[in-house]
Structure formats: C-alpha cells, structure tokens
Amino acid sequence: MDLEIELRVDGTEHRLTVDTRTTLLDALREQLGNTSPKKGCDHGQCGACTLLLDGRRILGCLALAVAHQGADIVTAAGLTDGELHPLQRSFIAHDAFQCGYCTPGQIVSAAGMLQEAGNGWPSAVSKDPGATDVVLDDEEIAERMSGNLCRCAAYANIVPAIAEVAHR
C-alpha cells in the first residue's frame, strides 16, 4: 500500500510516495538519494542510521516513513551550514573514524546528545541523577554514545572529539 507524505530533509521540502513498509532510512537512501545515514544492521542495534527527527536523535531503520508525515529530518549532510559543523571538524582533527561508515550516525548522535545534556538529561552513569547541570566527562560521553557502534573501534578518538566540542 502506497501513501503520499511530506518530509523536510536537511532544510528541503520533499513530497514522496512511499510503501507503508518503507522506513525513514530507506525513504532517504533509496528515494531521496540522501545516503548520509547508513544502514549497518537495519535492526536497531548499531546506530549508523541515526537521524535528528524534529530535533531529537532517533534510528531511521525503526521508524516507518508513513508514521512521520511532515517530520523535519536532519542528517550529517545537513549539519553543515556552508561550512562543517564543529563536531565534524573535531572528528577530522581527532581522526575519530576509520572506515567512515558509522561516522555520519556518530556525528548526528553526538549533536543530539549534546542537546540532551544541555537540557539537563541524566545518563545511566550520572553520579547525581537529580542534578540539572550535566558535566560531560569522558565516562558520560561514552555512555551516552554507546548506541553508536564503531567496528573500527575509534572510540578512544571519538570521545575526545566530542569532548572538545562539548567543553567549548
């Protein structure tokens, strides 16, 4: 069954017809030609497809496109605003990736995570769960980024790359 939906992706409005079975991830990659979000497991277990959906980080592989009519979506390709996002510059400077396949998801996830921390959201390792100010030390960053797997295992560079932006 096909339905027509509208999506705003990286600032551009799109009207497209999707099979009800199509995920946001496949709609972006196969129909809109935006392959910045990656398909690493299609199973909600790796984070490579992380998108900002109405400002929040989510997994594109578990979201049906028809259920997100009118959504505002941002990918790593859309984080750039003429120039690279500070996270993107920091990832390059810290060599926080190797193969690059998980990288757009890592960066989008980090952007969403910084927003969450800015809103005072706690994590599983927060020392004082009631505290409204989040201090993003390495342990906090690693816990909050644990949903983005990196098989090249660049974590020892990813965490400092994010920390540098977080502490700015």
Binding site: S36, A77, Q98, Y101, D138, C152
Partner: protein
C-alpha cells in the same frame, strides 16, 4: 631504489585524512549508494538445513507478488565456470553444505517487495543431522592439504606456511625440564562484522560487467568474479573507492557479488544487493574456533628448553581453510626443542575466512597466556621472562630479523605503564568492590610484500601529479598514506599529488590484507616515482613537458630481501583490568601498547589503526563469540544485540606508542605492517591481568562474567 631519507618529509606527518570531509558529512559513496537508473533489488534465499540437498523449490506465490521480476534457484541459475573456491559456485547444484548458504534469490522492483517475496518461496529439503561441534577427540581431524592463496611458502596453511614444524626433540626436552607448563586454551568462532554490510551493485553495460562492491582488493575481486562468470577479466570492472570496514571478510568472500551478477544478467537491469546483518553470520566468513594445547619446558635459569604448540581448528567441509594459528610460536621465543602442528575439524559450517590478524589473533592469546603461566611458574616477572627468551635470529628458519625491537617495546611499555610498581601477588589490588590487576603480552605479525602491483604516475604540465593504483582504503588511511609516500618519492608537497584508488580501471594492486598494503602499494609507487624522476631529468631537463609525462612501474614479484630476512612487526601490550567481585564483570581500565612497526607513514592514521586493533582485542577478549547451535547448525546470536562488540562505554584509556625505528629491508619507506599487530596479544594481556586481579586463569575466550562469578 633510493632511500627515503634523501627526500622531503611528508612521511611522518600526522596529516588529516584526505577523505575526511566526505566521511564526516556522509557523502563518501559506498558501493550500495551509487546512483543508478531504474535499479532492482535482490533478496537472497538461504538454506534452513545445514547439510543435505534441496528437493523442491516452489516459487509460485513469490512470482505472483506484484513487482517481482525473477526467482533464482539452482533450477534456473546460469551455469558458472567451475571455480577453484567452492564457495563461489553459487546455485550450481542442489547440495547444501551449511545452514544459511545461498539457495536462491528474489529480484524485485523494491527492496520491500524482494524481501517479502523471498519469504513466500517454499523450499523442500532432504537433510542430514548437522555436524558442527569442534572437539579435540573427533576421529576425523586431518592435516591441512590445501595450498595457500597468499604467501610464497608453498605450505598448507592459509599464509603459505607448512602445517607442521619440528626442531629437536620436544618430548624428551619437556620430560627433562625442571619447570613445565601443559595447558589448553580455546577460542570461539568470531565474526568480522564490518559496519558496512557486504554489498554488490551490478550493471551489465555493452557486454561489460560493472561491479560496485565492498572489497579489500578490486583486482582480486575482478579475477574471482570474472573467473566464475567465464568472462575475460577485462570485461569485468570492479569499483570500490570507499569500503566501510572489512577486517578480512572482504578478501575472499564474493558469493554475494556472483549472485548479484547472475541476477543482473537474467533481468537485464542494474541489481542492488546488500546482505543483512543476520545474513553476514552465514555468508562472509569468520575466524574459526580453535583448541590449542601448549607445552613449555624451562630450565632453572628461566630459559625455555622446549616449546610445543598444537592446534585443532574448525573448518568447513565445503573448503578446507586452514589458519596459521601456531605460526607465531615459531618465531617469538628461543628454545632448542620445538614443535608446532595444525589439524582441521571438518564441519557442516560456513567457510571460515581471514579475520584481523588471522592465526596470530588466536595463537598469540594462547602462547602469551602460556608464557605468563610459565613466567609465574619460574618465579620471574613476565616482562623479564620474555626478554630473557628473546631469540637472536628466527628460531626455526635461522634467518636474521630485518628489525626486531621487542625488548625495547617491553621495556618502554613497562616504564610507561608503571609496571615496576606492580605487586605480582594475585588479588593484591583492590578499589572498593573492584579487584584490580595488570597483565602484559607481546604482539607480532608478519610484514610481507605481495606480488602483482603496478602504479602509474602522470605529471601534468602544471606540475601536478596523478598517481593511479587499484589499492583499497578500508578505513586504513591508504588514500592519505599513499599520497604522503608519493609526495616524498616525487620530492613534492602533498598538495601536488592526487591519488586514485579502488577501481580496476587503474593499474592492478594486491589486496589490502595481511598488513601488506602500504608495503606492497607504496613500493610500486616509489618505484614509479623513481623512474618518472629519472626520465624527467634525463629527457626533459627536470621540467614538465607540455604533453605531460607518464610512467608505469610494474612489480610482479614480492620483496627479494624476504629470502634473507625474517620480517615482522612486534609490540608489547599492558592491560589494567577491574573485576567486580560480586558479579564478575570485567572492565579494561587501561590498555597501553608499545609497537615496533618500522617507520610510521602517518602517525595520526597509524595510531587509529593500532588503537582500533587493540580495542577489537578488548572485544575479542571479553565479549565476542559466535554460538553454533548443534541441532540446527546456525549461529544463534546473529545480530549486534547478541553478538556484542565493544561499545564506547567499554573503552577507557587506550594508548598506542611506537619505537622510532626504520626497517632497512622491508621497503624503501622503512615501514612495517601495522594493520594486524594491534590485536595480537591483547586478549592475553587482558587474560593475564584478570588472573592477576582474581587469581583465576581463564583459558577459554571470551572472559565473560559467568566464568568469574561465584
């Protein structure tokens, strides 16, 4: 060839990756992402028995699904040229050799339709009970017979080494040793799991096949695919500029590309095919499980008198892949009496393949754990014990090492890790509920150069150079490092060099594997640069001619010095672990590696490769294991929620350092391989630290909490 030191120095500079901007924005194009006109989608059918044959395929329901273009099976698949590798004989018979093997495919207008229709195909089988259990007491163990694909040794193991080696009289020496260790270790089946699934996008164009796939070697893929399809190699073009990780699994396994090519020929449309994560557990190889018995004898002086490493490893009945697990024991330590053996257990399992540091990954876990046990038995510090047993030359071949700075790595690593303050008594460290321990292990991997490389360099009239070679960048930093090598070889700034890789339209290159990439490709580029410089000087007075100048260097052979020197990278790794006394949870608080990898081309990307290998070593030591179900024959835990790889939260301080040494014989750059060495010995350093923390010696990987909770 001229020496690197005579040139300006791009080598040694921590340059940012050339493809960095593309990767952080997600605009680097991986195989599946190539824009195509009117593509169709393939979803495979996999056997649901582990052994037997397909007796019937009913595809009526699937074919009735709107949008389905074809259903392939052995009944209608094109006939392939009989491949050397049985894994590539896709859909050529009704036989099933492992569970999850390709038995067909559906091609449809959309991904959703293809996958749905695949589930509607009904397959009947005549099955046998699967035989998938690796045990040391199996009656059918055999000595490997298959010749190697890699390496010139002509031996039976995957790297060309002989299956067995004997020096002196091990049994007598062991019996006479004042101190003896006789221990058996086991390692499970591990899956490579690169983040980018194996993918092939196939287009037939005017009789030429264009395969965009995720491969570690475009040239090798071209040879494998063209061979199976019965095409001239020149009629198959493989394009693979960006590869989303591989770790060995994108060298041999190409059945998915063959299947996609067959489908594209049938439906006459471009076919897109990407394996799912779950399918990757059955179709693209894995590191085979092993059982390793190690016996060591030592004298009262703490020197080894005998070293015996006997390996039993899992292999597929379909293909007798044999990994060089005990080969590390042939070179690490001096001992007058020594023996290594490899035996295979043929099972109804998928074909194993290379996975990061094939052989050494498992072998060094066992050897370096046993060495720790022996050092303790001798009452010696494990760093001191290793240094005391350093060989002067290769203990079996007698060749000198081209360079070997293991002792320096052990000493400097120990200094940086604060090893001198260590109390050797197990369970002597504690912080709250955590038991704290430290451990050390050595690392090693060969540093070979592959034959079959060519590089072309073109000098444009404006002074810019284009370097062309079908090398691969798996995230290894090839693109960047080769640019630095070319710049130094040409004596120009890196900004004047453009590197083109990952396409069989470029001069042929060997695969990215075996830590041979930079050695093999870099040497070809160096040679081409030397020739170009010479011609530029001789024919054009050093000035770029208006028509430009192009030179190709072909290096059909490997490294001639390899006959006179043993060439290996080395390292020492120090682990600090914490074990929760209540639950047995293990955390690696710190991992420090000190490496001997020759001259480092790009310290930034090199460090990434080393810490990546070490972190995969943490993952190998603590989390990863593929569980075969003996009743069904499949890997039960076939996804990332059940096959755990390390996440960010599992990684704390991971540091890689190296000794500043250049190897005089490996290649003109003085580099040695560093892709694999980082993961070797890591699991042993962690296991040794767990023993130090808890007093419990785990001889079976992974070190999960169930083995420690009480």
């Amino acid at each position: 060839m001229s020496d690197v030191t005579a040139r300006p120095r791009a080598i040694g500079v921590p340059m940012d990756r050339i493809d960095g901007v593309q990767k952080v924005t997600g605009t680097a194009t991986y195989a599946y992402e190539w824009p195509l006109d009117q593509p169709v989608y393939l979803y495979p059918l996999q056997s649901t028995i582990a052994a037997g044959r397909v007796t019937g395929v009913d595809s009526a329901l699937a074919e009735a699904e709107p949008g389905v273009l074809a259903v392939l099976s052995h009944l209608n698949a094109p006939t392939l040229t009989r491949p050397e590798d049985p894994e590539l004989a896709v859909l050529q018979s009704d036989e099933v050799a492992w569970r999850g093997q390709f038995i067909g495919a559906v091609v449809a207008e959309s991904l959703e339709t293809a996958r749905r229709a695949a589930g509607l195909v009904r397959v009947d089988y005549e099955g046998r009970a699967p035989d998938v259990e690796l045990r040391a007491d199996r009656g059918d163990l055999y000595s490997p017979v298959h010749a190697a694909t890699f390496g010139s040794g002509g031996g039976e193991l995957q790297d060309g080494s002989p299956a067995d080696s004997v020096l002196g009289d091990v049994d007598t020496a062991l019996a006479a040793s004042p101190t003896m260790v006789d221990v058996t270790y086991s390692t499970p089946m591990y899956h490579n799991n690169p983040m980018e699934p194996h993918t092939a996008v196939v287009t037939w164009l005017d009789g030429e096949l264009i395969v965009r796939c995720s491969t570690q070697g475009a040239s090798m893929s071209q040879a494998l695919i063209s061979g199976v399809l019965g095409l001239e190699p020149g009629r198959v073009r493989v394009i693979s500029p960006h590869v989303g990780g591989a770790f060995g699994s994108k060298v041999y396994p190409h059945s998915y590309a063959v299947l996609a090519a067959m489908a594209a020929r049938m439906v006459r449309r471009p076919v897109k095919f990407s394996l799912t994560r779950q399918q990757m557990f059955a179709l693209v190889g894995y590191r085979p499980a092993s059982i390793q018995r190690i016996r060591l004898g030592a004298g009262r002086d703490g020197r080894l008198t005998a070293l015996c490493h006997e390996v039993i490893e899992q292999t597929a009945k379909a293909k007798g892949y044999a990994e060089q697990v005990a080969v590390c024991s042939r070179l690490m330590y001096a001992a007058p009496h020594r023996r290594t053996t490899h035996r295979l257990a043929p099972l109804d399992v998928p074909v194993p393949t290379i996975m990061r540091a094939p052989g050494e990954a498992q072998g060094m876990y066992a050897l370096e754990s046993a060495i720790d046990e022996m050092a303790i038995a001798c009452g010696l510090d494990p760093v001191e014990f290793r240094i005391r047993n350093e060989p002067e030359v290769h203990p079996e071949s007698g060749l000198p090492f081209s360079s070997r700075h293991l002792t320096a790595c052990l000493r400097e690593g120990a200094r940086r890790a604060g090893w001198d303050h260590r109390d050797p008594v197990p369970r002597s460290g504690r912080e709250g509920r955590w038991l704290v321990g430290t451990g050390v292990a050595a690392s090693t991997y060969p540093s070979p150069r592959f034959p079959g490389n060519a590089a072309t360099i073109r000098l444009a009239p404006d002074g810019h150079y284009t370097v062309r070679i079908a090398a691969a960048d798996l995230g290894t930093g090839t693109w960047t490092a080769l640019t630095q090598i070319a710049a130094d070889a040409l004596s120009v700034p890196v900004g004047q060099v453009e590197m083109r890789i990952g396409d069989t339209a470029l001069p042929a290159a060997s695969v990215a594997g075996f830590s041979a990439g930079i050695n093999s490709w870099g040497t070809a580029i160096w040679e081409a640069a030397d020739r170009l410089r010479a011609r530029l000087q001789a024919e054009h007075g050093g000035i770029a001619p208006p028509e430009g100048l192009e030179v190709t260097a072909e290096l059909p052979g490997g490294n001639p010095e390899a006959e006179r020197y043993a060439m290996h990278s080395f390292g020492a790794q120090f682990a600090e672990v914490r074990v929760d006394e209540d639950t047995g949870e293990v955390r690696v608080a710190r991992l420090l590696g000190m490496f001997d990898v020759g001259r480092v081309i790009n310290p930034k990307t090199a460090r990434s490769q080393l810490i990546g290998g070490m972190t995969q070593g943490i993952s190998m030591a603590l989390y990863e294991h593929s569980v075969l179900d003996p009743r069904f024959g499949h890997v039960v835990n076939q996804d990332f929620a059940q096959y755990h790889i390390a996440s960010a939260a599992d990684v704390h301080a991971v540091e890689a350092h190296w000794v500043d040494e250049s190897d005089p014989y490996t290649n003109p750059m003085g580099a040695k391989g560093l892709g694999e060495v980082g993961i070797t010995g890591t699991a042993a350093a962690i296991a040794n630290a767990v023993h130090h923390a808890t007093g419990v010696r785990i001889r079976e990987l992974p070190i999960t909490l169930d083995k420690l909770v009480s």
